[in-house]
Amino acid sequence: MKNYLFISLIAFAASIIAGCGQRDSQNVIQGDAAEQVYVAPGEYDEFYCFMSGGYSGQITAYGLPSGRLLKEVPVFSKYPENGYGYSEETKAMFQTSYGEVPWDDSHHIELSQTDGNFDGRWLFVNGNNTPRIARVDLSTFETVEILEIPDVAGLHCAPFITENSEYLVSGTRFSIPIPQKDVSIDSYKENFKGLINYVSLDQEHGHMSLAFQIEMPGFNYDLARNGKGKSHGWSFLTTYNSEQAHTLLEVNASQMDKDLMAVVNWKKAEEYMEEGRFTERETNYRHNVMDEETGIAESRKMTKTKILKPEDCPGMVYFVPVPKSPHGCDVDPTGEYIVGNGKLSADMSVYSFDKIQEAIANEDFDGDFEGIPIINYESALDGIVKKPGLGPLHTEFDGKGNAYTTFFISSEVVKWDVETKEVLDRQSTFYSPGHLVIPGGETKNPDGKYLVAMNKITKDRYLPTGPELAHSAQLFDISGEKMKLLLDFPTKGEPHYAQAIKADKVQPNAKKFFRIEDNKHPYRAQGESKTKVERDGKNVHVYMTAIRSHLAPDNIEGIKMGDTVYFHLTNLEQDWDVPHGFAIQGANNAELLVMPGQTRTLKYVPNRVGVLAMYCTDFCSALHQEMSGYLRVSPENSNVKLKWGLSDEFGTKEDWRKLQEEAAG
């Protein structure tokens, strides 16, 4: 009896507590949701979910199903937290043809693929504002390459990958004069063009290079997907503004009943490239690559691009009409169905790859646009999903014949059958979802267990934090017939797209430290005996090491006003999770966070005479507080000798030579 009373009291208390929560979610949360997302202390999540950061310019890695933030990886925005963009090694990553651009707007995550499945090697993400594509190495979770895309504006439609990572496909969001010139904006129809870009990937190192660009009519290229399986070798890109408006697009680009989806045969484009049917054009863009051995990024100036024009290359590009202002363009796991979502349309059009091929073979065209054939809408269409919701944006697949589409305006996720086009289920999201992700949802073999909706509006979902709120993500269980809401979690920046991958495809490759023996940095100090301070005119190079718990040298004298000091810090540790930090008072940049075995450089220009403190910023050991030192700065005309060292080994260059000879003897 006592036990029974106890249990019922608990149940009652729990129901009261639950009642305090959101009314809306109370209707949808069922039974064992907490158990399904609970990852016990010390255990791992089943999936990595990589989310773009939108206006943060970065990406984040979350664990699924827990929704725990594992890491923020800086990509397009400088990051004082670890010195990315501030250290001498990483500054070059931010170079563009516009000079240094320290921020961007990251949108779409694409994981590398082999045979249509995620392989866990690399992650690619686009910079929307100053058109760029970045590569993140998934063994280190570091940004190792950024390629600028020339002659485009707003690289929203990027960087969509092909099934064997042959290419990253992208398109310009805003058409512009090519090459750039001083013309009236009114002359849009006459002067403005759009480019579709193919960036090829070197399969060993992942290095990107701009293979060719296709010159297209001046539309707004929005989103894309590549074919897979039977449709491998083709790309599909939605466009809006076939009206070619240049002002008040919200009205003027929504006049026509249908816009156009571009259908590109890239295998054909490759043939034309081999035949030399391209024109080479002078242009200007940057290619920034981190050297794998030195860890130093270099920015190369690029000056040429190869252009394919549809009029010279028959059979390379087609259009298919899509109802009203399409956004998402998604290909199902079989490669047969292509979903075109018209934002302003009540219905969704699903195209058949076979039917598109048949229409092309039969030249079943409905006119052309600037010479590019427009495939007859009815002939390409497989079927229509009737009135599934309002404002369809993006679709992912579960590998069991179902598609899941987000509806921004009606704020819901709708599950429908790809073959029958029948709506099977709908669940509210809180509120207004943009993208959604299913692990492997873009691949030939999705893992149809979870779905994450990335919502644009948060409102009352969390404790309020002033006018700005974290965007909310919502995790659904999609293993059953009906979708089941499991969890809300806040995200960083504004995630647009995300991709999720089984942890076991990434986890085994995780690098734990850099081998100190393999460090090829020109200013490395492979051991404390290699530490030194060298003057080169007004530049002073400090070859410094860090190990628990001291910096060496930790006393430096002989620096003068007008000098520029470069602290080259090598972390001598060879164990996992032992970074050392380095900061010096008044540095006008940031700190360094140096991984075990790595060398990183902080530039420092003293602005006053005196003795300045420096220290390790990462709590590394019980004696971390002791891990510090001093830099003495003397007046410009002083004759204080350059001396450095620690403990009783503090001395000049001559003293150091003697010490080393003794040690060697």
């Binding site: 608990i10 009652f12 190990i547």
Partner: protein, 171 residues
């Protein structure tokens, strides 16, 4: 009545949370007491332990292998010399001088290659940690690297003290 029930239920919930907390705490403290420190052993004194790790029994040649000494010196220079000097002076860790006379070669190699376990389980290593206060880091040396380092340490003892391997027990 409803309010009363609510308050009652909440206080029961509170009890449950506090129970859970103390149970976990109990478990944690019992597991941390597993590696006890042997108060009687002095860290710098000679010990007869071979330590904990994969190096069980080592056979040392009486003569030194010059190329191993050379390789060992390079490794020490890169990965060890920040904390261990070649003299008997303690900086972060103890000086290397005389180490092969105090410690069995197996102990030395286990300390290098199995650092975290040694610090958790070996009484001598724990005593040294108490004195030095900085955990010796795992510097990622292979067994082969550690053997080279040992050879260099033998050579260092011979050069500094004229005697080496006094803690070595054959077989």
């Amino acid at each position: 009545m409803k309010n009363l029930m609510g308050i009652l239920a909440l206080s029961i919930l509170f009890l449950i949370f506090s129970c859970g907390g103390s149970e976990n705490g109990g478990e944690a403290s019992s597991s941390s007491s597993s590696g006890s420190i042997d108060e009687s052993s002095s860290a710098e004194a000679a010990t007869s332990s071979k330590g904990v790790g994969e190096i069980k029994n080592l056979n040392l040649d009486d003569s030194l292998n010059v190329s191993m000494v050379f390789k060992g010196k390079q490794i020490v220079d890169m990965k060890c010399a920040s904390c261990h000097k070649l003299t008997d002076k303690r900086v972060v860790g103890p000086g290397f001088e005389g180490v092969t006379n105090r410690r069995q070669p197996e102990w030395i190699m286990n300390m290098i290659t199995n650092t975290d376990v040694m610090l958790a389980e070996d009484p001598t290593a724990q005593k040294l940690l108490e004195e030095c206060l900085t955990r010796m880091p795992n510097q990622g040396l292979s067994v082969g690297d550690a053997r080279d380092v040992l050879e260099f340490l033998r050579q260092n003892d011979e050069a500094k003290l004229g005697k080496r391997d006094e803690a070595y027990q054959e077989g």
